[in-house]
Subunit: 696 residues, 2 copies
C-alpha cells in the first residue's frame, strides 16, 4: 500500500492494536518485563459506561495476581444466585427455582459484575505503576507489511506498520444521542451502544479514508515490530490484513439491552434471573453496581417484519426495548427514570480460522471470537487470551525461551474459543426459545435450561479451561487432538509425562486451584494463588508431605542439594545478573504441623540467603490450622498423600505443567529443557554467583 | 498576648491543632459533614518512616467504616502469634511458649503493624475525597483567647487564635543525622526519631521565638472558632494555654528502638516475641511490613551511669542499641545492613487532668495521655479519642444535638486513658524486670507475663472499651462512677434503661460486635459493621426474630407503622430537606430463612421508596446460610432469641446505646429525646415530605 514518506520510524518489541480489555491486559502483562511496547487505539477516549460487565471468578484471580483484584472485588456487584421465572399452569409468571451462581469452593471469588470502563481503569493504573507504557488514543494502523524472511530470527523485526494520528473528530465514534422522554415529562439524553454493536457496520474504513484526506495535518509514522497483536475487536483491521476469517453463523434473534435503575415490584430484581414469558419471549436480569440493573430483553422481531430485510435499526429505541420487558414481566411492573446505557445485538457465534501469522502476528479477543453476551464470557475470554499470550512473547523476547512455545497460543486459545462458541450456542437457543407448556410441548423445558446452566457453571466460572499436552503441559495424549489441531508437542527426547496419581485433584493443563496455607515463618494464612503473582516466574511447588517423617526430610535434602548446586537447571536458565528466584521460583508447602518444623533446618535452596537481606522468609508454607481463618486442608484438596508428597510445576499464568515425585529432579530438568534457553555465562560467573532472592 | 495587627481573619466551626493521627482522624470525621474546618501543623512535612506502627483490630474496623480499612489491611503485617523466650535452667535462651496474639472471633481483623506515615496517607486521601479540607503545614498557633460569655451559645465563636506561617527552616525539626558504619565498612545516613522522643525538650517554644523574630516575613492571621481541638502531642501547646496538667510519673527504664532488616539465625524473627535474657534485660520483636523488624530493646543504663544525671543522650546510638540486642539474644546472632529508623525513650505513664475547657476546647491523643509504646496502643487510642469526639461536635454544630452530648467526651475517653495507663504500667514493669530464675526468685515469672498479655488481649485489641451510662448510653448505674467522674447522665424524665437480657452478648456501652448477615434482596454476605459506615447516622437495628411467626411479623408491622408515621421521632429530628434515613437509619436483621420472606411484604419504613430510585434494597438482612461464606450465626452470637427478637440503637461511632423490645417505640423515642433537637418545620412540610432514602 503506497504511502507518503513516514515522518519518523520506531522499533518496538510488541505493537498492540486496540486498547480494550484484551489489549490492555496484554500491555499490563508486558509492563512486568522491561520491554519496548506500544499500544494504539483508534478511539479518542476510554469508554465510561455500558459494554461488557461480567467477571468470572478466574478473571478476578488473574486481576489479583496483578495486584488489583481487590479493586474489582470491592466495586463489583456479586451474583450469588440465579432465579428462574416461568409461567405456571395458568400462564402466570412464577419463580420456579433458585440455584447458586458459582460452584461452592471453586474459587475465593464468585461471579461478579462491573462495567468495562472500570476494568480498563484498573488495567491502565496497573500498567502505569509498572512501566512507562501509555495508550496512544486516536492512533490507527493504515498499512502493514510482513517480511517472511525475517520471521525465523526472533531478534529481527519482520513487521512494518504505518500509524496515523487521527483528528479529534475522526477519533470520536458517531454515537447516536437521543432525547428520551421520562415518565414525568422531562427529557434526558442517553448515549447508546449501537455504534459498537454488531448491528452497525464498523467505521474503520471510514476512519482510514478520512485519515488519508488529512495526510498533511496529522503525523504519520512507521513502526517496525518483532510482534504485533490485534486486539481490535470484531471488525479487526489486523485480521483483515492477514486475510483470516471468522467462521460461523448469525441467527435472527435480536436482543435489546437496558442499563437502568429499575422502579419495579418484581421481587427478584437484585438476583440474576432468567424470565421466560408464555408468549412474549424471554429476558435476563443482571443486577449491577451503583443500583443499576442490566436487562437483556428478547425483541419480537416479527412485530417489525417490515424492517427485517434491511439493515434498518431505527425501530430499536429504549422505549421499544422497555415495552418488550414490560410484556415479558407482566403482571409485575417495571419502569425507570434513569437509563445509563442501552444497545441491541443479533445473536451469532463465530471463531477465527487462524489465531496467528507465523507466531509473529497474533489475534486475540473479539477479533477471533464473537458470541452472545449473556453468559458473561466475552470480556473474560478476551483478557484470558492475552493473559495466555503475554508471558510467552515476553520470555521469547527476553531470550529465556525458545520461540516454539508461541505455537501453544493458538492451540490453547482457539480450542477455548471453540468450546465457548459451542456452549454459547446451546445456551442462546435455550434463552431465545419460548418455554415449554408441558412435557409434550417442543418449547424449552425449564429443567433443561437449569441443568445446562448448572453444568456450565465450571465453564462460566473460567475453570473449565484444560490446555492440551504440549511442550508446556506434560501429560498423556496427543497435542493435535487436545488442542485446536496445531502440533505443539515436545521433541520425543525431551518429552516428560506427569504422574497424576500423586496429586489426584490437580488437573494437569488446568489452573491450579487455591487453598489457604500458612507461612512457616509467621503463621499468616495465604491463598496459594496469592503466592503465584503474575511476574513472569515459573514455579516449582514442592509438597514434601510431613517433614517429621525422616524419608520425607531426606528427599527434601536430596532435592535441595540438586536445586542449590551451581550446575542446577535453575542456575543454567537464570541470567547471571538476576536473583536466583527470578525465573524459576521454588516454593514449599509441607504437611505440618507448623510448630514441628524450623525453617532454618531446611536446605537453603528452599529459603535463599542474601547478604544484605538475610534469609528469605516467604518461600516455605504449611498446610495447618490457622489462628483465625480455619484450616485450608490443601493436601486433601489437592489429593496429595501427606506421607509421600508430590512436586508441581506451575506456568507463569498459573496453569499446571507437570506433577511428579518430590525428588524427581531429572524430570523437572527434562521438562524445562524442552523450551528454555541456557544463559551464556562463564564458569567463573557461575562459581561466584551469590544465591540471592528477590521476594518483596 | 500582644501581637502585630492580624493580616486577615477567618471564622471556622472547628480548628484542629496538630496533623498527626489524632488530628487527621478528626479532620476525616468532619470531612463527612459539610463544616468549616481547618487543621494546622507546625511541622513542614508529613513523616515518612518510624514512629508508631501498631494497629488494633478495632482501629482497622474504624478505618473500614471510613472506606479505607482494606488499604491498611493489605499493606500491613499481621501479628498472629506471640513467642516467649527466656533462659532455661542452664541459662540458655529457649522458646518457652506461644500464644495467639488476637482473641479468636473478636473481629474480622487481627492485630497488625504498619508505619504511621502510611496511616496518615490513608487519612489524608480520605479527607481529600470527601471535602476540601487541607492540612496547613508549617503553621502554628501563637496566641489564644477564650470568651467565656460566648461559651453557652453554640452558634457563637468564643475562641480566638493567632496563627503564624513558619519559614521552611523553622518548620523542619532539628533532626540528627549520623553516618553509620555498616558491617562491610561502607557508610550510610540514618535519620533518628529522637527529635520526637520524650528524651528531648520539645522545640515549640523555640519555634514561637523564631516566628516572632520573623514577624514581617511571614503571614499572621486571626481565626475565630466555635471549637478547637488540641491534637498537638505530648508537649501540647493547646494544653499549656489551658493550664491543664499531665498527671503521673516517669521511670528510669530507657528503651531503644531499631527498625531494621535483620540478618539473624534467631528462628522466630517474623513472630512477635518477648525475649527475657538472664542478665542483660529484655527485648521485644515486632515483625513489620517490607521485611522490616522493629526491636524494642532495654538499655542497660547503669553501664552509662556517668551520664544518667544529665539530659545527655549522646551515648545512645544505633550501635549501642544493637549491642544490647546482641547480648540479650545470645547465643543467636543478629545484625543488619539496612536500618530504616531508630529512637530511644524513657518509660512513663501520664494522663491529663482535664480533657476539655467548657466543651469548646478539647485535648486528644498524646496531649492527654503518654505511655510506653510496646503495647501498640498509642496511635490507636489517640485516633479513637477523636473518633469519639468528631461526630459529637458535628451533630452539635449542625443543630442535630444538644451541646450536652459533648460532656461525654471527657467522661468516656479520660476513663479509657486511665485504664490504658494502668495496663501499660503493669505490662511495662513485667517487660523491664529480669525474668525469674525459679519460683523463689523475685524476678518476673513468664507465667505472669503470659497471663497478663492474654488477659490484656481484649484491651489491646481495642474491645475492652466500655462507655459508662450517660445521655448517650442507656444502662443501669451511676455515670460518675462508670466514667472519669464527670456527671453525664440524662435528665430523669428522659432516662431510659436497656433490657440487656434481650441480647445477652451485646455489651451496652461497648462496640457492637460484627458477624456476617445476608442481604435479603441478593443473598450477599456482609459483616454487620460494614453496614454501619461512619457517615454520622444513628442506627436502629431491628432483630425481629423469625418473621414466619405471626406475632413477630405483627410487631414489625406495629413498629413500621409508628416509625413511618409523619409524626415519628425520626421525622421530627431529621431536617426537612434531608432523606429520611440520613440521621437515624433503620436496619433489619431477621432470623430467616431468607427464602421464606419477601422484602416487599415488610412495611415501607424498613425499605423506603423513592420516586426516582425505586425501593431501597439495602436495609433488610437475614441471619442465614450463605452460598460461599458459611453461616454468620448472628442471633447466636448476639444472644438474641429468634422466637422473640430485640432492637438495638447504635451510635454513629458503632457503640451500643440501647437494647430493648422490637416494638418499644416509646423507649426509643424517649432515648433520642434526651439529646436530639426537633427540627423546625411547618405542618405542611411534614405532610408533603416524601419518604426517600439515600443509600448508595
Amino acid at each position: 500500500m503506497p504511502e507518503a514518506l513516514p515522518a519518523k520510524a520506531d522499533h518496538v518489541d510488541v505493537l498492540i492494536v486496540g486498547a480494550g480489555p484484551a489489549g490492555l491486559m496484554l500491555a499490563n502483562w508486558l509492563s512486568r518485563f522491561d520491554m519496548k511496547t506500544r499500544i494504539v487505539d483508534k478511539r479518542g477516549t476510554k469508554i465510561i459506561s455500558g459494554q461488557a460487565d461480567g467477571l468470572q471468578c478466574r478473571t478476578l484471580e488473574i486481576f489479583d495476581s496483578f495486584g488489583f483484584g481487590h479493586r474489582a472485588w470491592r466495586e463489583s456487584n456479586r451474583m450469588l444466585e440465579v432465579c428462574f421465572w416461568n409461567p405456571d399452569r395458568d400462564g402466570v409468571l412464577r419463580r420456579s427455582d433458585r440455584i447458586a451462581d458459582t460452584i461452592s469452593g471453586i474459587s475465593r471469588f464468585q461471579l461478579a459484575v462491573l462495567h468495562q470502563g472500570r476494568i480498563e481503569r484498573f488495567l491502565l493504573d496497573s500498567i502505569k505503576e509498572h512501566s512507562d507504557i501509555t495508550v496512544e488514543r486516536g492512533v490507527m494502523p493504515t498499512a502493514f507489511e510482513f517480511d517472511e524472511s525475517k520471521a525465523a530470527n526472533f531478534a529481527d523485526y519482520p513487521i512494518v506498520v504505518t500509524l496515523r494520528t487521527l483528528s479529534d473528530e475522526e477519533a470520536t465514534p458517531a454515537q447516536r444521542q437521543q432525547h428520551y422522554r421520562n415518565a414525568d415529562g422531562t427529557q434526558s439524553v442517553i448515549s447508546d451502544g449501537l455504534f459498537q454493536s454488531n448491528l452497525v457496520a464498523d467505521d474503520t474504513d471510514d476512519l482510514i479514508r478520512m485519515a488519508k484526506d488529512n495526510n498533511h495535518a496529522h503525523p504519520v509514522e512507521t513502526v517496525k515490530a518483532k510482534f504485533m497483536v490485534g486486539c481490535d475487536g470484531a471488525h479487526s483491521w489486523v485480521r483483515h490484513q492477514l486475510g483470516f476469517k471468522l467462521e460461523g453463523d448469525s441467527t435472527d434473534y435480536i436482543w435489546g439491552v437496558l442499563d437502568i435503575i429499575p422502579i419495579t415490584n418484581f421481587p427478584d430484581i437484585r438476583y440474576r434471573c432468567v424470565v421466560h414469558s408464555a408468549n412474549f419471549g424471554s429476558l435476563m436480569v443482571i443486577p449491577r453496581e451503583n443500583k443499576l440493573v442490566r436487562l437483556y430483553i428478547q425483541l419480537q422481531v416479527t412485530q417489525h417484519a417490515q424492517n427485517r430485510d434491511s439493515a434498518d435499526r431505527s425501530w430499536i429505541t429504549p422505549e421499544i426495548i422497555l415495552q418488550s420487558a414490560q410484556r415479558i414481566m407482566h403482571p409485575h411492573k417495571i419502569d425507570y427514570t434513569y437509563c445509563d446505557w442501552w444497545t441491541a445485538y443479533r445473536i451469532g457465534q463465530r471463531v477465527g480460522d487462524h489465531f496467528s501469522l507465523q507466531e509473529r502476528v497474533f489475534l486475540a479477543g473479539d477479533a477471533v471470537h464473537t458470541h452472545s453476551p449473556k453468559a458473561g464470557q466475552g470480556m473474560n475470554v478476551s483478557m484470558q487470551d492475552t493473559y495466555n499470550l503475554g508471558w510467552k512473547i515476553a520470555h521469547v523476547v527476553k531470550g529465556y525461551s525458545e520461540g516454539s512455545i508461541l505455537r501453544t497460543y493458538q492451540s490453547e486459545r482457539r480450542r477455548v474459543a471453540q468450546d465457548l462458541i459451542d456452549f454459547d450456542y446451546r445456551l442462546s437457543r435455550l434463552f431465545s426459545t419460548r418455554s415449554a407448556k408441558d412435557t409434550t410441548d417442543k418449547g424449552v423445558s425449564m429443567e433443561e435450561l437449569k441443568n445446562t446452566m448448572e453444568r456450565g457453571s465450571e465453564f462460566t466460572s473460567g475453570f473449565g479451561v484444560n490446555y492440551g499436552t504440549s511442550v508446556l503441559v506434560a501429560k498423556e495424549g496427543d497435542s493435535v487432538e487436545q488442542g485446536d489441531g496445531t502440533e505443539v508437542a515436545a521433541n520425543l527426547s525431551q518429552r516428560v509425562v506427569s504422574k497424576p496419581h500423586l496429586a489426584t485433584k490437580i488437573g494437569i493443563g488446568k489452573c491450579i486451584p487455591s487453598f489457604k496455607v500458612l507461612n512457616q515463618s509467621d503463621a499468616r494464612p495465604w491463598h496459594l494463588q496469592e503466592l503465584l503473582r503474575s511476574n513472569g516466574r515459573w514455579r516449582i511447588i514442592v509438597f514434601p508431605g510431613q517433614l517429621t517423617m525422616p524419608q520425607n526430610m531426606q528427599r527434601m535434602q536430596r532435592l535441595g542439594d540438586q536445586l542449590g548446586s551451581p550446575n542446577s537447571f535453575i542456575r543454567q536458565y537464570t541470567p547471571y545478573s538476576h536473583p536466583i528466584d527470578s525465573l524459576i521460583e521454588v516454593l514449599t508447602v509441607h504437611a505440618g504441623p507448623r510448630t514441628a518444623v524450623e525453617l532454618l533446618d531446611l536446605p537453603e535452596a528452599f529459603h535463599p540467603f542474601d547478604e544484605k537481606m538475610g534469609w528469605d522468609y516467604w518461600k516455605v508454607f504449611v498446610d495447618d490450622e490457622s489462628h483465625h481463618e480455619g484450616h485450608g486442608q490443601a493436601y486433601v484438596h489437592y489429593g496429595i498423600d501427606p506421607n509421600h508428597g508430590a512436586a508441581v510445576i506451575v506456568r507463569p499464568d498459573q496453569y499446571v505443567s507437570w506433577v511428579g515425585e518430590v525428588d524427581d529432579y531429572d524430570d523437572m530438568a527434562r521438562f524445562f529443557s524442552g523450551f528454555m534457553r541456557q544463559q551464556v555465562v562463564s564458569k567463573s560467573d557461575i562459581e561466584s554467583r551469590p544465591a540471592t532472592s528477590s521476594t518483596v
